[in-house]
Symmetry: D2
């Protein structure tokens, strides 16, 4: 499938100045993954390498459930990669748990991937035509197979470069090849990945919070198309695979996916959300008594809206901090209870108030409707929905979990229609320009595909604005598959 939803977190740790092989790498990966848990809750894995053989732990579920002190202590090694995964329905099996580990003629490779390849079907067909097999549904396996083919011909960096010419889409990768660590970012810089210094070594992670957690010091984000090699000897080498300044950073990281305390492509997510709130207040002011967020992703934007508008910030919804797996009876009352369990209204804060409700986005509209109904049930006089993103009209092909076009409310309703559908008194969406301005990155370096329906990579049936920068033809050259 071309649009697998794969919100994931990746991490890689290498220690070049250690005592003899130790489990410190495994523990640092464990803490880093814990900090990236919001990027994937379905499965997790850690693989470490001690110079001779890989040791791994893979499990379905949360980081807190998957690892034990005992199992972590057993996996010693000076380098390793880890992964958390939020899987598309139907692929949540132990086989699809990353990192993907393979042995080949040249040794051992472990790959953690965040992103989605848009030409995975073609690559899979091509590899299968060569008689190769697949044991998982992962893009990481495609990348692994391509990489091995190249590694038989050239050095790791050149091999990675060749692979990057073949794969189209989004990818932030941490890869362990025979004891060296590689961090790789796709040429459009769609998925975030940064690296930092840690005690005696380096770490590369999806978000800077993971560095904070393991007492690392953020050095910088990887550049679009950059490969960084962290050698077992302690050397660090950067290789740029593209001379283009083109980028297409995912705006949804800022809107809702990333943790607010992360710095992504130089922008603190929290600040970007505050500025989104400022913009939203300017674009869509409302005479109201309070500004209230949909927690947690709407909090910073609501604070920003409140500050800009001068209307008081007051929480009207409270999230239950202990929600794990819940189950419900097939019964309407039970379903409503399950919603209330996750988010409750603070009645007194809402009663007889005119409320500006700040939410990060409106996708299908069903959640917004449910929340606004709850707020009105709690006695709010008016609800003015302010959305911290423009209307979502295109699906995401690069890994963000979004529904099909038909399910997106903004594809088949007017703004007024949406307002009525979600039971708001007024609705205001942030403009695309407002969003871009708030994020603080030039529009030419952002992916706005879900908003503009124009994508940075070639997708069959969709508009592409990447012709100059990332021509499909560059990636899959005419003659290339001939001889295979």
């Amino acid at each position: 499938m071309i649009n697998l939803k794969e919100e994931c977190g990746v991490a890689g740790v290498i220690i070049h100045d250690p005592a003899p092989p130790t489990n410190i790498v495994a523990f640092k990966l464990y803490y880093a993954l814990y900090a990236l848990q919001h990027r994937g809750q379905d499965s997790t894995g850690i693989v470490v390498f001690d110079g001779s053989k890989p040791r791994s732990i893979k499990r379905m579920g949360l980081v807190s459930e998957a690892y034990s002190r005992d199992t972590l202590q057993d996996i010693v090694g000076y380098v390793g990669v880890g992964h958390v995964r939020n899987a598309t329905y139907g692929t949540q099996t132990i086989e699809n748990c990353q990192p993907f580990v393979l042995n080949f003629k040249g040794g051992t490779i472990a790959i953690s991937h965040n992103g989605n390849l848009v030409n995975s079907t073609e690559l899979r067909d091509e590899l299968e035509s060569e008689g190769r097999i697949f044991t998982t549904a992962l893009d990481a396996e495609i990348i692994g197979l391509l990489l091995v083919k190249e590694l038989l011909k050239q050095e790791p960096v050149d091999a990675l470069k060749s692979v990057m010419k073949r794969i189209i889409g989004s990818y932030a990768l941490t890869i362990m090849i025979n004891g060296d660590l590689y961090a790789v970012r796709d040429p459009i810089g769609n998925k975030p990945i940064c690296y930092g210094e840690i005690e005696g070594g380096y770490a590369a992670v999806s978000e800077s919070v993971a560095l904070d957690t393991i007492k690392g010091k953020l050095v910088r984000d990887l550049m679009p198309g950059e490969i960084i090699v962290f050698k077992k000897t302690g050397e660090v080498e950067s290789i740029m695979t593209t001379d283009s300044s083109f980028a297409a950073h995912c705006v949804f990281e800022y809107i809702y996916l990333a943790r607010p305390d992360s710095i992504i492509d130089g922008q603190l997510v929290y600040s970007a959300r505050e500025r989104i709130g400022n913009e939203l207040a300017r674009e869509h002011p409302a005479a109201a008594d309070i500004i209230s967020p949909v927690p947690d992703s709407g909090i910073a934007a609501a604070i920003g809206y409140s500050r800009e508008s001068g209307t008081k910030y007051l929480e009207g919804l409270m999230k239950n901090r202990y929600i794990g797996r819940t189950f419900i009876l097939p019964h309407q009352e039970m379903r409503e209870m399950a919603v209330r369990l996750k988010m409750n209204t603070i009645g007194e804060n809402l009663k007889d108030k005119s409320v500006v409700l700040v939410d990060d986005s409106v996708v299908r509209g069903t959640t917004s409707r449910r929340i606004i109904d709850m707020i009105k049930d709690a006695g709010a006089k008016e609800v003015h929905l302010r959305v911290a993103s423009p209307p979502i009209v295109g699906p995401c092909y690069l890994g963000i979990d979004m529904p099909t076009r038909a399910e997106l409310i903004a594809t088949h309703k007017t703004i007024e229609g949406i307002c009525a559908a979600v039971n708001a008194d007024t609705i205001g969406y942030l403009s695309a320009d407002g969003l871009v301005k708030a994020i603080g990155i030039d529009k030419s370096k952002l992916c706005l595909g879900c908003i503009t329906e124009s994508y940075p990579v070639p997708i069959p049936g969709e508009k592409c604005y990447c012709d100059k920068q990332c021509k499909m033809d560059d990636f899959v050259p005419e003659g290339e598959k001939k001889e295979e």
Copy 2:
């Protein structure tokens, strides 16, 4: 031990207008306990009764882990009680998991208790002297044994009244006696408990959020010393066991324990915390760039401080929402990682800023120190600690998890000493009067024992201000044990 720390949540549900015995009661208890999870994470239990026999589930751990759809579906009954428990170290065993269930001559009783009896040792000795045995470390077992003695002599309400004359301390109880549900609150109203209407019946719970979750409608808090009977026939009867207007509601529910969306004794916790922040700003203003909370318990107070002071509210700390069990290596670096995992700084929001940090309380001072160090490491210029409660100088004997007097930093350091110890630039504690004013309940109706060292119940070695209202002599009359 006289001061067991027993932060717990209780719930009781009865349905008088149901179809034949159903598992709806078990599911409602499950949702109610989920909403009360913040009151206890060590163990949980549900007992339901179908008119003939009790069925129960008890497990160590969180609500999300303890129950499954299958086990809940199996426990049918029209009435039941549930419990979540935060246990004192050493008592976290399956035997001490509540509700406490007993069978006696007159039938079946299940008891859920939140609170701490200060005369438990005496009562235990007395009961043991009669040849009675204990199979748990629970006050609920003491209550159960006393109750059974009385039930052999009188009707349930009178029996409960007699028991209430014997037990001193804090208790919010939901009790199932032979198919009727009883909610009981101690005569000083120390622990919160309220009740509401639900579809076809009633529920009594520690906090109103649990009613919200099960789509109940809050009727009111129980009065100090009140017993409410919810009969299987649908009748509801209130019995007042004290004519005194004395009360001693725990202020720590408002300061940090209760959920902000709960209404306790008529006060929305969120609003009380906001007003605490207002007061704090008035009492201890600070020239600063931002007001920042220690999440989550400091958020509403920080918002209040910000609004009163006019200084901007900006979050400088971010909590990891996915923290479950973690484990650490015996290694200094690992311990610091474990702290960072739970709470991270948002560097850009703090850098070069003068920060007013609003925390709910300072107990030992160690956590405050660690947080302020982190904030200064993140580049804050100044940290002005503003504490949403007065200095804690007395232990709690009524169930709040607090250390011994010797461990309380305010018992052996001056305010200046504390300021230096926690590495703050200035420190400001809310005054007791300010706290009382903010909560909005008359001082004579609040327990301020930990702040004033004067307690509402007689504690050996401590001052008591309860002489008129709750004389120890009333409870354990000289002659009383004679005839037994």
Copy 3:
């Protein structure tokens, strides 16, 4: 209920010559319980005592599942008791997991009980009338409550004597009272219990195999009505509570319950079963090609039959050694598969053969029918069923898991009728006299209640032959229950 089925195993271990408190006691109990696993598979528990506080592990399931190295290592103490339980349906809950532990005025008691009290209802009523409560469905709780009442008046041995005057039925007990270990056997010696020396101490266990396993040396069986005290100082004291030579050892221990390698009341179970086979061959010879057992309980009897008859012993049925929990689809074919999974025929050994099939007993007849059908399906020409016990016509009130009288095939069918019902060509039951002779214990010292319908203790509605030896009146003295 008067006839709870409680096949259990008990163990007690005390070490008087140890290093400081150690976990060796916990580990020895663990191994002893492993050896007694055949006596109970539903739950298990171990409690050890270090002189100040008890530490326990209790879990549903098998010994292999319930304990871990970590949990066992944590429970240190020099004395302890353990239990495995095979529970009556509906009582398989964690609350009913033994040992039953209680705290009372005089300290801590832990009780492991194998057996069934026939006056439990009366005792429960009596205790409840005194205002006492029950938190379990266990006879051990009744025993504990009675014991505590006496311990407040007299020394442990006298207290135990007094309790033994009150309880009627079967009981083998290992009891820890404040750091001393007591082993107790009911006055009719119905349930087995023996003791032996172990390194640095003593152990008392249900069957001698448990001593073998922990490298103990069997000293002897307890006598009916004997109490043996194993003091923490190393002294061992025996107290006889009855001067009668009356006994009623359960014959079913020899027929099927006990392990063949155990010695019970001086008789090796294996040898008793062999002699049963000899007798059976003499009483019910058959012209056949082979003698084949129903494994495992029929093996020794079949060997005995073969040797006596001179007909060759050849296994026709094979048990699957790996059967744990299985589950089946609600589907006839599946049910048959589940049977085959547990026991398979060895076709070639049966084909065209005339088979003497030796089974330990015929209860409902359904299992026999199923097995004989399988054997005939496998091609056997004739099946001559030889049963290693007389027809079962009475229920067991002393703890053996047997159905109600109505379900016992021998209560409503003639021998010929049973033969037809189970599809055998001929059937031969061992005579009661043959059984007694084979066991090698005088008939006056055996309980044959299920065979003769005459019981060694008074059961309402049943004949009793115990008048002289264990008058109900002795146990429940005239005046004692008057006032209730």
Copy 4:
């Protein structure tokens, strides 16, 4: 490694006359694997196919632990394969859990393999040289990769034939290729595999007991080198890939591995073991009081010995039927307890007796020594060890779990030396000719490698007697791997 120990069980089930896709196939595989549990206890898996996609369950541990009713019900399909595995130390990870499932250009393949390839290193190198990768340590992955290469060129049967020309060693395979089921046996027939009819379809399994369990009817063993195709249409086709009558059935299946109720290559294992006992009695008679087996594998041979010798059969050792995982303290006494836990002596049967002890084999001699010591401790006067196999002097390269040559006691001690080392009074090994005669299969069709050190397949450094029949050159064509 050339001599991985891979004792495994395989199963395949196809139903051609079903209702729409059903979970009956999954349940039949589950029952079949339960019956084959003795062949592998480390991990298990089931894969079923419904015509479009495979669904699988894989878990570490026993069949009783790995599957639940829920998980089995979810995997519907009309065809499937299953596996139980006994893994070499270090390879017990979830990745190595079979069946091995792969997707390739032509669809989906699932492979269950029992056996060991002796040229796996060469094949792995060859495949890696082509740039292929390995994600497991399994021979099944090698077979899968070779098979896919061939399937791109030819039809499944021809592809399998080509693969069989490349792989050398032992293999019994059940393979699902795109909805058809294939059963394959290596050209020397080393590993057992048979097939039978089941309701509406067919099953192929390692041992006939698995057919018995699922109510199947054994048709016959596969011939050496045979492929049988079970088509989704119900057709069954046999393809012989060798015209040689050469075979090398593993004798250890008869000696100890297979279940006694299985029929392998036409011989009932139970009968073979009885005849082994007869032979042993003739070759090594002993004047003794009793003949006693080491359970369970020595039972049938002991019965045979007893019958032939006329000396009475009496069990002197008893196995604990409940042994699961056990753990021991690092303590000598504990280790002895762990041994006793598994096997106990029946003292009375041994005391003052002269015992013929019949064991299946003597490998290192340590277990024999421990058992004989126990028997002598129990009071046996003399122990005459009779071994149901010849001295083991060569390692197994075909998958039986045996130690290195240096660890085999018979490689460095004389018969007298062994007798002394194991503390026996006399020792008698069955002769190779006696073994062959007892099994009832011509010597030219048995693998006696571990006894004769002459192997049926070429092993570097070992003698091979296969030159005519299975020339290495046939398998690894001239030009392909010159240098090896």
